[in-house]
């Protein structure tokens, strides 16, 4: 689907692939038939992790910058909700109302992300990974040892989403729809932005920064702005994350979770915004149910093996796997179809059917 047609007025629902419609209907109806556990801990958590990984996919897939600090950005937003909002620990908790707290946390996270971008954009490839990993680790140790603002090892607990319109937003179903709105909104936004002028120039910069510079584009500014946008996405997901857990501590922004986000993005696929959500779904399902599949001392091996297999057989993740399988399926169908018509075609002396 061409996202710009949506805005130019030429969009109609008939253009949507029936599969996409099916997915949308499924996601909207999901709480109707799933248990609270599946709505909250599988559904909402997948959407939150997927959104954080989406910000990484956007930087990595369109900008060629793999940033490991996206969870750190989300974590900062989460911490800020606890610090300027209310918590039950008795440290900080300035008690600002939610309609200041939330935008403040998201904006601060985005600015922080832009700062990370400003520091790291002049590096390429593995060096970007290293510098952003260093920032993530530094942030982890900083919050663990700072007691005045971040309350050290203990962190914050008792962080509540606001009760709005008579709805308590951490109840499974409202929280699921909240996460779905955020995730769906950012998914569409990333899809749209990828076809916008900015998105196209970002992808061009990814492919050939020198040429873009020669054409007069400010490469650094484009990249830093991409970090800012990714910070908005990660920051919003970070606010949802802290509402989901009700607490945040250095363990929530630890190196293992930073790597989890990278795993989600890589396993899902970095080519298309749907990849991170696929990756998050697989990750959350494995995290919850691998322990039921095998004896409890080896369940992490199952998780590791599953990811290894995906990456081994498809460097592009689940998305790549699908793209590899689909032409084969289509080929098989077309082959049967063609075999039936071969005779007729030969008789008419027509050329081979054009591949679509």
């Amino acid at each position: 689907m061409d996202a710009r047609r949506l805005l130019s007025g030429n969009f109609s629902f008939a253009d949507l692939h029936p599969g996409v419609l099916l997915v949308i209907v499924f996601l909207l109806a999901y709480p109707g038939f799933a248990s609270d556990f599946f709505v909250f801990q599988i559904g909402a958590y997948t959407l939150i992790l997927g959104t954080i990984a989406l910000s990484l996919m956007m930087l990595g897939g369109y900008g060629g910058m793999v940033s490991l600090a996206q969870l750190t950005v989300a974590g900062l937003a989460g911490y800020l909700v606890a610090i300027v909002g209310t918590n039950s620990v008795g440290v900080m908790g300035l008690g600002w109302p939610w309609w200041i707290t939330v935008p403040f946390a998201i904006l601060a996270a985005a600015v922080f992300s832009a700062l990370i971008g400003a520091i790291s954009v002049r590096t390429e490839g593995i060096y970007t990974i290293m510098i952003t990993l260093a920032i993530a680790v530094a942030f982890f140790y900083f919050v663990r040892q700072n007691y005045v603002v971040f309350n050290g090892f203990t962190g914050f607990a008792g962080i509540e989403p606001p009760t709005l319109f008579g709805v308590y937003w951490r109840d499974p179903v409202p929280f699921y729809y909240l996460s779905l709105t955020v995730a769906g909104g950012f998914y569409a936004a990333v899809l749209y932005a990828s076809r916008s002028t900015f998105g196209l120039s970002l992808q061009a910069i990814r492919d050939n920064p020198r040429r873009m510079r020669a054409l007069g584009y400010d490469v650094t500014l484009h990249r830093v702005f991409a970090y800012f946008l990714a910070g908005l996405i990660a920051g919003t997901a970070g606010v949802l994350m802290v509402w989901f857990n009700g607490r945040i501590s250095p363990g929530s922004v630890g190196v293992d979770i930073v790597i989890d986000i990278l795993v989600i993005a890589v396993v899902g696929g970095m080519r298309h915004p749907i990849g991170p959500f696929l990756g998050a779904l697989v990750f959350v399902l494995l995290q919850n149910f691998a322990i039921d599949l095998i004896d409890r001392e080896r369940f992490n091996t199952v998780i590791g093996l599953a990811f290894l297999l995906v990456v081994l057989f498809s460097p592009d993740g689940l998305l790549g796997l699908w793209q590899r399988v689909r032409p084969k399926l289509r080929f098989a169908r077309t082959a049967r179809y063609e075999a039936g018509r071969a005779e007729e075609r030969d008789r008419q002396g027509a050329g081979p059917l054009e591949q679509t």
Partner: protein, 415 residues
């Protein structure tokens, strides 16, 4: 024909009666421990404790089969909540045993408040506030906590060892705070000193102690060390290499078997280190020996002797099973009767009698120990004294005890 109909009706009736009865013949019990991350080894030993208790009851309690479902966390509160939620809301456990570490315990206690139908029994988490402040009505802890574990140690080093000034070295999180508080409170009440600037807090997993060792004051009589596992070994090695000669006082997990079993010259100078905790490896008592024998027989590849984690999980699981026996496995009222039985439960454990106070916190015996060289050259913890029936508030009333304030790096100030 009529007979046929009759038989059919009878069979259908019997089946329809039998089916729900079958479903209620098992009780689902969840066990939550750290089976991943830094505390994996401890989590595995915890699970041995759970299995040992279930084995003892042959997986039946109150005439019903117990189905065990395990959950894993990585010692972070977030992961403990996720695992607990999965066990309760997805697997439908009616009793949950766990978690392992202090911060997890605080988180699971908060979660317990949202699940009033489920009965939560602690694993080995030992933070004070899990049961002291804002306890949850359905969270029971039959194991003692970090401050209780220190019972008698402060008095012992003041009176018997004659120490007056003490430096403190501990990891920087809630469990060591609780231990330092439990040790210093009686010590300072007697007149001992441990000024705030002679307390050193290091992050978990700290490798280099040279700056701490250099900063240790000279005019102290001993150092109180509350480090665990590899941290303790690293500090002891480096302190010995730096020529340190101050006597040590150990926290509950500082001089346990994992540290005493390590190789090197540190062994010589930790001989004589006093410590205190919920178990003592060498306690000369038939109940404890029987427990150790059962553990060794069932888990030949476990530790040489059950750790305090296996011990705590064993006691808590056993408490749940005993209470189930008492109510004949009847949980049809959402576990109300079970929780009543648990609250009034008093039973014999490998380390003496256990009962609960009104906030569902264990009152149990604590062991004062000292490191000695055993006959075969191994280092052992010798039991010096058993402090009977230590309660959470050190014998004070609840309100008086709250005056001490929350455990922290500066509590007690001890000037």
């Amino acid at each position: 024909m009529r007979r046929f109909t009759k038989t059919t009706i009878a069979a259908v009736a019997a089946l329809s009666l039998a089916a729900p009865a079958l479903a209620e013949d098992t009780i689902k019990m969840g066990a939550l421990a750290t089976l991943e991350g830094a505390f994996t080894v401890l989590g595995e030993d915890s699970m041995r404790g759970v299995e040992l208790a279930l084995e003892e009851f042959e997986y039946t309690a109150g005439g019903k089969k117990i189905e065990l479902i395990t959950g894993s966390s990585d010692a972070s509160p977030d992961s403990a909540i996720r695992a607990a939620r999965k066990l309760v809301e997805q697997d439908g456990v009616q009793i949950l045993v766990g978690p392992l570490s202090g911060s997890e315990g605080l988180a699971v206690k908060d979660y317990a408040k949202t699940q009033p139908e489920v009965t939560f029994v602690n694993g080995s988490s030992a933070a004070q506030d899990t049961t002291l402040r804002n306890p949850s009505d359905n969270f029971f802890r039959f194991s003692t906590e970090g401050a209780q574990w220190m019972a008698g140690l402060g008095e012992y080093v003041y009176n018997e060892k004659g120490y007056r000034n003490i430096a403190v070295l501990a990891e920087d999180y809630s469990f060591p705070y609780t231990q330092v508080f439990g040790f210093l409170e009686p010590f300072c009440r007697l007149g001992g000193k441990a000024p705030v600037d002679a307390r050193f807090w290091v992050p978990i997993g700290n490798k280099d102690y040279s700056s701490v060792i250099a900063a240790l004051p000279d005019d102290v009589d001993a150092i109180y060390v509350a480090l665990g596992g590899a941290d303790a070994v690293n500090f002891l090695t480096q302190y010995e290499q730096a020529g340190g000669d101050l006597p040590l006082i150990g926290g509950s997990i500082t001089v346990d078997q994992t540290v005493l079993g390590s190789k090197g010259r540190t062994r010589d100078f930790i001989i004589g280190t006093p410590s205190a905790g919920p178990i003592s490896d060498t306690w000369d008592d038939p109940r404890w020996s029987a427990f150790v024998e059962a553990y060794k027989a069932k888990f030949p590849d476990g530790f040489p002797s059950p750790s305090l984690f296996a011990h705590a999980y064993y006691i808590n699981t056993k408490a749940a099973l005993l209470a189930l026996n008492e109510v004949d496995g009847d949980l049809s009222d959402g576990g109300v009767k079970l929780r009543e039985a648990l609250a009034n439960l008093e039973f014999e454990t490998p380390t003496g009698m256990v009962k609960l106070d009104e906030r569902r916190q264990a009152v149990a015996d604590i062991f004062l120990t000292e490191v000695i060289e055993g006959p075969d050259g191994n280092l052992l913890n010798k039991t010096i004294k058993v402090i009977p029936q230590v309660d959470q508030t050190f014998g004070l009333s609840y309100d008086d005890f709250l005056q001490y304030g929350q455990v922290s790096r500066e509590n007690p100030s001890c000037e």
